[in-house]
Symmetry: C2
Subunit: 493 residues, 2 copies
């Protein structure tokens, strides 16, 4: 226990000194919180620590000072059903604070490493991947402007024993001390090594750990306040500097996947009708098996305007039980979505295991429309390739099967369909000036699509190009791809 | 089975007729949905029906036509943990559609009457109250501009038996037919009477039932489409008429509760410090008991600007475990909140049983600031007294203990505090021009407060006036009220 033993647990603050020091710290922290709110800085404060090290007390001390308008407190406990049926980090992604808000955790995503059985997936997941999930979560938030402050409250084995006994004496709190807690107290040394490994592997520059001597609660409180103030001051000062990380050019992409798209592929109406019936029956059967085996399925549709995404999705779900799938059409983000990390609105839509989530446009908007139209900075969309790959890997780690379809047409076909929409009264609502404007930027979009396909075509989440000049062909291709892949996958699992 | 037997189950539509009729209905429905979206009309469609009557199929037929951007499908199943720990209607209130959106239910709030064990509270709750909860839910939504369309899909006992057997033959669907389903088939007649009672007691003018002959699925689909179209057309036509329901003057209130407030009450600092310590320790103990007994506690703070709500709340929670309570400061609603019924943002904050939710301002804003400042129409705020009483009664039905504090000061005391805030640098952020503007309307607010206190001072959720010219007195009064009431309540339960 090198890291923890280096902490001086004898440090104390007397009551008389404490009140005077805290008065100043409280005013200072209140001011900084309001300034962070004005500057739309989201803040996350994590409390981990030994059992009975006083996490609840420290959180309450902060709450006395912080404006409750901006703060939400979370305590992490054994997974509930909604959580068990999603990737582990889902529960935290869905709770990230809005810009200008503050989230405080009593136990957090770190509990998966130190509280056994908290994450049922951990037994199956290589620990390296689990650390990667946690580190990429924090890096993605910090890149987005978040501040993450992580405390580990440290007490000695003897002190812990004393506190457990005190809790046990009171009938109202005795239930809080479990056999598991006593076991941990007996294994204090070896448990300490687990904690130290966790700290060492997640003590990143963008979100470092602060180990707090918590033997004396007054000392701990002052330490926590001082650290929060220090970190916030530094963050707020850095905002004024406006030093943006320079965009580093990514290496050029070696080949175009779009060029492999053979848009002459087609099906006759007769072949289509036959195959549609076959596969629609099969996908209905598979939907039931997916439910029984608690398989999680995500299907992403991206494609040119008027490529036929909507019609394609309709044929996919035509015979499915609506209780087994959700279709999420993705438009421009609303206020609440804009106030969060851009991936937040997709994380909150992750399907429950046993269900399909179908996205009509998706998180790839970041590297398509947001790139081309300048809604994202060059740093933001370049970073997004990695962020997206990391998110999709987390889905794969959990066992989610991910389909990504690029619905492809050529420029002539698009023109034909736009004109058709303008002419048929019942289709006119489908065509807007924006569609025409996007069309003028065809080549810019084409570059963005090619780069997206290349940089996010991973083993765990490959792209499928769906040639859609003939819509009938495209509909069968997506149906067949989903059916065949799931059939193979469900046999194996 | 009078109501159900009156339905002609022999009605059929041939395949050839079906396609022609549906084509027109689909175009019509698509147009109406877009128009409803433009006009910000929220729509709820409920499918109830016998087991295997084809609820899923009907929902899917609608989904083929509706713009998925606007639609969310819910299927109601056995309560999960989050739901069990809240009032029954919480799960539906949290899912009401935004203005312009559509929610479709495969089973709904009606399942509590016809699916045993779906609502564990039903055994304790008088059935009249359960019907009242459902009827007031629908009335409140319709008053807010919602459209609710309720279908009951009717099939014969013989047809149901046939369909169960078919499902059982396929190994992929056999699990869907349970012993419970077969039991219901055997008790078809008596079950039918339960259904008929439910229909009779909830067949309101604002949300009538439509019983659909579902023996032939084509006939059912056409019936459903025609009914949805009819209802939407009627609703959209009524929007153009702009006939507002006239505001009916409520009877005058017979007495003023504010006049009973004795603002001379006070405590010395010494008495305060002693009592504060006593009650803060007690509330910490009670918090643990509340958790163990899964008691749900809601505390509402309303009061004049600068009355000391924030400071009062701080002393209340000073020693509590932050994992046991949440403080919700209520400001002006955001975009997403404005797009919902005004009670939605409070329903989504209902505490999990075993926890405290503390509201710094609350749903009473509707009859205070929204009334005085004209943010709500006279119809809206007059209606709100009943809506609020109904919501609070639902909390009480569930077993929630509700405290409502009016933190009272007089006009002179407010002036003193405003001036103090302006003078002390660390308090200046607390005073804004708006506070001064509100102060000018003191008498209007006073009338609104008096009317609120009178009309919402119910047996199940009474108001407590907290005299706060002396803040110390006020803090002890709220602490003591919460402690004493909870002590009494927890002994009984």
């Amino acid at each position: 226990m090198g890291i923890l033993n280096a902490i001086d647990l004898k440090q104390k603050i007397k009551k008389s000194d404490y009140n005077a020091r805290m008065e100043k710290l409280e005013i200072k922290l209140g001011q900084l919180e309001r300034k962070a709110l004005e500057n739309k800085v989201p803040i996350t404060i994590v409390f981990e620590g030994w059992g009975a090290s006083g996490k609840g007390r420290q959180i309450n001390e902060l709450l006395q000072v912080l404006d409750p308008r901006g703060v939400k407190v979370y305590s992490t406990q054994v997974s509930n059903e909604e959580e068990t049926y999603r990737p582990f980090m889902w529960r935290f992604w869905t709770k990230i604070p809005e810009r200008g808000r503050l989230a405080i955790y009593g136990r957090s995503w770190y509990s998966r490493f130190i509280v056994e059985k908290l994450d049922p997936m951990m037994s199956k997941l290589p620990v390296d991947k689990a650390y990667q999930e946690v580190n990429s979560f924090e890096r993605q938030l910090v890149d987005d402007g978040h501040v993450i402050i992580k405390f580990f409250l440290h007490i000695s084995r003897k002190e812990q024993k004393k506190r457990f006994k005190q809790l046990e004496k009171n009938p109202l709190t005795s239930w809080r001390v479990t056999d598991y807690d006593w076991k941990k107290n007996k294994q204090y040394e070896s448990y300490g090594e687990v904690i130290e490994e966790m700290i060492a592997r997640t003590d990143n520059e963008y979100a470092p750990w602060h180990i707090v001597s918590a033997q004396n609660w007054r000392f701990a409180t002052v330490s926590v306040f001082e650290k929060v103030i220090e970190v916030l001051e530094k963050k707020l000062a850095s905002l004024n500097k406006k030093t943006r990380t320079k965009a580093v050019a990514l290496p050029p992409i070696p080949h175009s996947m779009l060029e492999t798209s053979d848009l002459s592929r087609e099906l006759t109406r007769k072949e289509y009708d036959r195959l549609r019936r076959v596969y629609q029956k099969k996908i209905w059967e598979i939907e039931h098996e997916v439910y029984l085996k608690r398989q999680s399925v995500v299907i992403v549709y991206e494609g040119w305007d008027a490529a036929g995404k909507g019609g394609n999705i309709k044929r996919l779900v035509r015979r499915m039980d609506p209780r087994g799938y959700d279709v999420f059409p993705i438009a421009a983000p609303n206020d609440i979505e804009l106030a969060h990390h851009y991936l937040w609105r997709f994380w909150i839509k992750m399907p429950k295991a046993g269900h399909f989530a179908i996205f009509d446009r998706s998180w790839y908007g970041r590297v398509l429309v947001e790139r081309v139209e300048g809604f994202a900075t060059i740093q933001e969309w370049q970073r997004a390739y990695r962020e997206i790959n990391e998110m999709e890997e987390q889905m794969a780690n959990y066992g989610t099967l991910l389909f990504k379809f690029w619905i492809d047409i050529d420029k002539d076909e698009q023109l034909k369909r736009f004109r058709d929409r303008e002419e048929v009264p019942s289709k006119q609502w489908k065509i807007t000036d924006e569609d025409w404007r996007n069309r003028e930027k065809w080549n810019q979009y084409r570059d963005a699509v090619d780069e997206m396909l290349y940089r996010t075509n991973t083993d765990y989440a490959p792209w499928t190009i769906v040639e859609s000049n003939c819509k009938l062909y495209a509909r069968i291709k997506t149906l067949r791809t989903v059916v065949k892949t799931l059939e193979k996958h469900l046999i194996k699992h």
